[in-house]
Amino acid sequence: MHIVVCIKQVPDSAQIRIHPVTNTIMRQGVPAIINPFDLFSLEEALRIKDKVGARVTVLTMGPPMAETSLRKALSLGADDAVLLTDRKFAGSDTLATSYALTSAIKKLSEEEQVDLVFCGKQTVDGDTAQVGPGIATRLGFQQLTYITKIESIDQGAREIVVHRRSEGGVQVLKTALPCMITMLEGTNTIRFGKMDDMFRAARYGLKTWSKDTTGAEETKVGLKGSPTVVSKVFVPKPRAQKATMVEAEAPTAEAPSAEAMAAAAVEAILGAQPKLADELLARAAAGL
């Protein structure tokens, strides 16, 4: 079984700041991390490897410095890593990205047939949740997004049963390999790599592929291959008003009692949202 996990290196959004003067994103000094959502998928792939045996290849498209993320994935237990990097890919939107990644997965399939592709549910920088479905569609793989659990996987019968989160519940789906899976967050916890894997990752000779290696067509990647354009980036307007403070009368110079504050808060809430008051009452009445 050959599993490809697509990971993306993203700036740690917790540390992203807006330059106070120029109002642009300051990436400088912001550490790059593996997109947190991708780790749930990577862990699931590694679990399949532990359980039924598989070769796990991690794939990323990005600048040369994305190597760090690939090594990190190797140190967690991935077997191989491919860095897809080419100036021609710069400016790719999701359609072009899924095209480029698909070209690499097809090439990987030539080495050893790819049975499963894992993607993150979404990225924290692009945040579109489109690249995974894009890859599945292009490869003609069954598309399984928002998976909460892989119930079983039968290599012989090439069958897989999964739980998929949908809005009103969980779909239990049975389908055939090959598939593209995105895991829902929180479904597992990424492991702490072993010392051996740390050594292997540090010494691993990374595969670096360009547009020409995978045979991707120039018109379908980069800005040319991207239907969407970002027409402006701006800082959200802060809410004009700060919170109205709930205050209550205190009998003496002391602070008002919790009861008085709570009563004032209830009035403030119901005052601000008269409809809510009715609904609460209706609900309370129904609960009678």
Binding site: R17, V21, G29, T68, F192, K194, M195, F199, A202
Partner: protein
């Protein structure tokens, strides 16, 4: 199978980097272990780097080293409540093509240095904490254990470059517990600011930079100093005091930094800047008397872990790099001579240190920490009297200068007896002689 290396370096700060690079460059099989997520992730340094030591290790470092600004002006300020008295030295000579000091952002420098080590063939593993030294029956250090599964790794020699806490040396019994009067706690912030504002406010062009070293009332009478450095697009501001004082004192470090930032002479310099990061870190300031055992069978200790820090001149990273290099050179020499890494042979490392500026400087200032600690007037009474004197001197108010001189002298004596003043002068002279 347990991996085996010629040398293991624990830590990827300046001392560990200097050691690992020097070893790798000579073709030794070296492993560097760092607990941070990446080199520099956990490191805190105010931000002055001294070129001389780095030059000895990487002569052409200026070609790609991500320094911020080279320093053309040094100010030393003594802060009063709403004033300062100080000295400035600025010279065009510092604009040479090989400047001597730079402001830096540690995370960038550490990352760059690490790349150099990898290029030189050193193996680096991050996010891995060394939990203990492995010793054989005779007590010789033969490797380390990490917090990862299968974490045992062997080496002929282990260089501990794990910073001020020196946990490994302590845990193994090679060092005593840290004494609170021997460590300062420093807090600092990096503040983003428009580079044009930096240039305007400090009178700089291009990549010129200024350093302000600050003493005085901001430390509330505790033994400590503060600093303000200009980076390319940011300012670094920080303050530090001895832990022993913080323990007694009522004011926590971050509050002290807030006060410094709000001080009327500092505030206009940092106006409009936005805080980017806040960090706190310890600095070993015990000086010569606090230097521990530096080597033994199969091990050496370098940098902050060995207490190599010159508080008086705010030098640390240069001592760290120098000691790291010397430890590495010792290993290389023994290896070439085919000698074992026992304590007797590693004593050569101590010899190198003794012959260098590291031990000579530490020795010179050996009494300073004690004097500062026992004579708090340097941080309370003196700033007041001095700034008051300056105020009187520079206020043109028709009082004749003679009278002013007398009054100033009187105010000094009022704060402290003539004997006290003379005594302080003597103590200081002795300490720095």
């Amino acid at each position: 199978m347990v991996e085996k290396f010629d040398a293991i370096v624990i830590g990827a700060g300046p001392s560990g980097n200097a050691a690992a690079y020097t070893l790798a460059k000579q073709g030794l099989n070296v492993l560097q272990l760092e607990r941070g997520e990446y080199p520099g992730a956990k490191n805190v340094q105010g931000g002055i780097m001294y070129a001389a030591e780095l030059e000895k290790i990487i002569p052409d470092f200026r070609e790609d080293c991500p320094t911020e600004r080279h320093i053309i002006e040094q100010r030393v300020w003594l802060l009063g409540d709403d004033n300062y008295i100080g000295t400035n030295y600025r010279s065009e000579a510092f604009n040479s093509d090989k400047p001597n000091r730079y402001t830096i952002i540690r995370a960038n420098i550490d990352k760059w240095f690490s790349e150099k080590i990898r290029e030189a063939g050193g193996l680096q593993i991050c996010e891995t904490t060394v939990t203990e030294l492995i010793r054989d029956a005779s007590g010789k250090v033969i490797g380390v254990r990490t917090d990862r599964e299968g974490g045992e790794i062997h080496a002929d020699v282990v260089i501990m470059a794990d910073g001020v806490n020196a946990l490994l040396a302590r845990r193994t019994g090679f060092q005593q517990e840290l004494a609170p009067q021997n460590v300062a706690l420093a807090v600092k912030e990096i503040l983003f600011i428009d580079p044009e504002l930096i240039q305007q406010r400090f009178g700089l062009k291009d990549e010129e930079g200024v350093v302000i070293e600050i003493m005085g009332k901001v430390t509330k009478g505790m033994v400590g100093t503060a600093f303000l450095y200009t980076n390319k697009e940011s300012l670094t501001i920080g303050i530090g005091c001895l832990i022993s004082d913080f323990k007694e004192g009522a004011i926590p470090p971050y509050k002290m930094l807030e006060d410094l930032k709000n001080h009327p002479v500092i505030k206009p310099l940092i106006e409009g800047a936005e805080m980017k990061e806040y960090a706190a870190h310890m600095i070993p300031e015990g000086g010569y008397k606090a230097v521990p055992q530096l080597y033994g069978d199969g091990w050496m200790v370098v940098g902050d872990a060995a207490h190599f820090n010159n508080a008086a001149h705010r030098e640390g990273s240069n001592l760290a790099m120098a000691s790291g290099r010397m430890a590495a050179e010792t290993v290389i020499e023994l290896k070439q001579a085919g000698k074992p890494f026992n304590a007797a042979n590693l004593a050569a490392y101590k010899k190198k240190l003794d012959d260098s500026f590291i031990m000579k400087d530490l020795k010179k200032y050996r009494n300073l920490p004690g004097i500062m600690h026992e004579n708090k007037q340097f941080f309370g009474a003196y700033p007041d009297t001095l700034t008051a004197a300056a105020h009187s001197w520079f206020t043109v108010d028709s009082v004749d200068k003679r009278t002013k001189e007398k009054e100033i002298m009187k105010s000094f004596v009022k704060k402290r007896s003539i004997m006290g003043l003379v005594g302080d002068a003597i103590k200081l002279v002795r300490a720095v002689r």
